[in-house]
């Protein structure tokens, strides 16, 4: 692992983020709009009574964004290189796939942290919802779990883009929305009908949302749910890394990797 090469990709990420309105809109504008809309929706649903009753909705959005931003950074980071016909230039340098992905994991985690802090402060000052009341340890565990799940999802999406080309690039923006209902981001899992409930428990994010809703009333760590989330995340990370490697190899074997820029 070369720190120099990882920092090269991070530097590129920094310059692209700084110079691209699209990235700023996706990473800053939309998350803040989401928080604002969900904040007002929470107030409306509380019927002017106790706003705390609708806070799980706002909290669900703050946590879901961690997944979205991490996955988005990993997938769209590579798309910028494909759109610029620069991906080959990167991969003919001595950088390894591991270093390349590590850079996007770091970049995605930093962006997720910034969005989380901004959203948390916005919720606190406008809607008087203090997510920090869940406790630092809880928030750290939620953050780690959501970011790891975002990394796994991002790896699969970028693997699919390398393998099948930009015709499936819409997945980079859309896939995480699938997890909103499937992981019961804004409502208890018990609301879901039977088959969906079973599917929901296949995703680590479901346990994070469940634990976070419980922590609003009792901020002690739910080790049982966190242990399942971490175990599932470990399994997902191993499987997704393996699938990514397979897709990447297949992309080079079929010539699609080089054709991505054509």
């Amino acid at each position: 692992m070369s720190i120099n090469r990882i920092s090269g990709i991070l530097l590129q990420e920094f310059y692209i983020t700084k110079r691209s309105l699209e990235v700023m809109v996706d990473v800053v504008f939309f998350p803040l709009i989401n928080i604002t809309v969900f904040g007002f929706l929470s107030l409306y649903l509380s019927g002017g009574g106790n706003p705390a009753s609708a806070y799980p909705l706002l909290m669900g959005m703050i946590l879901w964004q961690l997944l979205y931003i991490t996955q988005y950074s990993i997938s769209v980071g590579s798309l910028w290189s494909i759109w610029s016909r620069n991906l080959s230039n990167l991969f003919i340098s001595p950088i390894s796939v591991l270093e390349y992905n590590a850079a996007f994991v770091i970049s995605g985690s930093i962006k997720a942290l910034i969005v989380f802090l901004t959203s948390a402060l916005l919720s606190l000052y406008i809607f008087h919802f203090n997510i920090f009341q869940l406790g630092f340890s809880n928030l750290l565990l939620f953050f780690i779990n959501m970011v790891i799940f975002g990394i796994s999802t991002g790896l699969i999406i970028i693997g699919l883009i390398f393998r099948y080309g930009t015709r499936i690039q819409a997945l980079a923006w859309g896939v995480t929305f699938l997890f909103q209902p499937l992981t019961a981001a804004f409502f208890p899992v018990s609301i879901l009908p039977f088959p969906l409930r079973e599917i929901a428990y296949l995703f680590p994010a479901t346990y994070v949302f469940e634990a976070a809703r419980a922590a609003i009333h009792n901020p002690s760590i739910n080790w049982h749910l966190m242990a399942i989330a971490l175990t599932e995340n470990t399994i997902y990370m191993i499987i997704c890394t393996w699938i990514f490697q397979k897709l990447f190899s297949k992309s080079k074997e079929t010539g699609q990797f080089a054709r991505n820029e054509g």
Binding site: N4, G8, L11, Q12, N86, I92, P94, I95, F257
Partner: protein, 318 residues
């Protein structure tokens, strides 16, 4: 004797199933020596780009080996790529970023020591100081080519692969780019593997040419020797005589010919027969007013292969 810096043995690239797929590169072997400039030529679909992609590690091999500096590329990818670089008219840098930002990124990817100094040296060598703060996307094709070449020199490569670096450039900028490449060859002793569709460029800068067709190497020699393999030449004769007399003489001599107008004939013949034909025409009371001889060029050789011409006029292609 110069060392081999690239050794390719039995390189094969087959796409799709073994029985129904397509073989893009069919069992080719070649070497590139230290400081040598090798032209990689062939019609579209000959396998040039696929070979270059395999040489760069962005397309995997079906079989065969690639060695750089005597070491297996697959096992020594990082070490090999640190000493190689690539520039092409078809892949570019990040459009939204400035030239300086782009070059700083690649300086880190190649772990360049004192990156700013290195960039300034190269930018100054290529007289591109004014481009540093320009956004890459907003530059002209010629400016982008220059910056791509600067990027490809950041790591002081021992081998430079150039895939049609002058494509889409106007003749003046293409000429400047070629001069820069020639300067590089002289000043740094870099080995170059160069693809182009412009035969004059290849003749100008390459020590040796490898011709590919349908995935196979069909010829390998110096540009001059390749043109000598074609013995056909064109003799254009302007005359002051009756067309029928010229026609009768050339028919008797069993020559292939066509008239451009009433007083000019183009004769396709073997180079060695030209003096005899001129003498024969004069002897037949044909007053010759002008003569032009067109010898075969590398382009003729290219067309010969690309169009799969008959073996007539070819001494020995392989």
């Amino acid at each position: 004797m110069a060392k081999s810096v690239i050794e390719v043995k039995n390189l094969l690239k087959h796409y799709g199933p073994a029985d129904t797929g397509f073989t893009a590169v069919n069992n080719i072997s070649f070497t590139v020596k230290e400081g040598e400039v090798v032209g990689f030529l062939g019609p579209n679909g000959a396998g040039k780009t696929t070979t270059i992609q395999m040489l760069l590690g962005i397309t995997s091999l079906t079989s065969g080996t690639i060695n750089y500096f005597g070491k297996d590329f697959k096992k020594n990818r990082e070490e090999s790529l640190q000493r190689i670089n690539f520039a092409s008219a078809f892949n570019t840098l990040q459009g939204r970023m400035s030239v300086m930002e782009n070059l700083m990124v690649f300086a880190r990817l190649y772990s360049v020591k004192k990156p700013k100094e290195k960039i300034m040296d190269l930018v100054s060598y290529f007289k591109s100081e004014g481009l540093l703060n320009k956004t890459y996307y907003n530059m002209s094709a010629g400016q982008k080519t220059r910056i791509n070449i600067i990027k490809s020199l950041l790591n002081d490569p021992d081998i430079l692969l150039l895939d049609e670096p002058t494509a889409s450039l106007d003749p003046d900028v293409a000429d400047t780019t070629l001069s820069l490449i020639q300067d590089l060859k002289k000043s740094r002793n870099i080995s170059l593997l160069f693809t182009s569709h412009n035969m004059d460029e290849i003749t100008r800068i390459c020590d040796r040419v490898i011709f590919l067709d349908q995935g196979k190497i069909v010829a390998e020699d110096t540009p001059l020797n390749l043109t000598k393999r074609l013995s056909d030449a064109k003799l254009i004769v302007a005359f002051d005589a009756k067309k029928e007399i010229v026609e009768k003489y050339l028919t008797n001599e069993k020559q292939s010919f066509s008239f451009i107008n009433k007083f000019t004939v183009v004769i396709e013949t073997e180079e060695k027969l030209i003096p005899k034909l001129i003498f024969g025409l004069s002897k037949a009371d044909i007053w010759i007013t002008d003569i032009e001889i067109k010898k075969p060029t590398l382009e003729d050789f290219f067309l010969h292969i690309a169009r799969g011409k008959s073996k007539k006029g070819e001494k020995n292609v392989n």
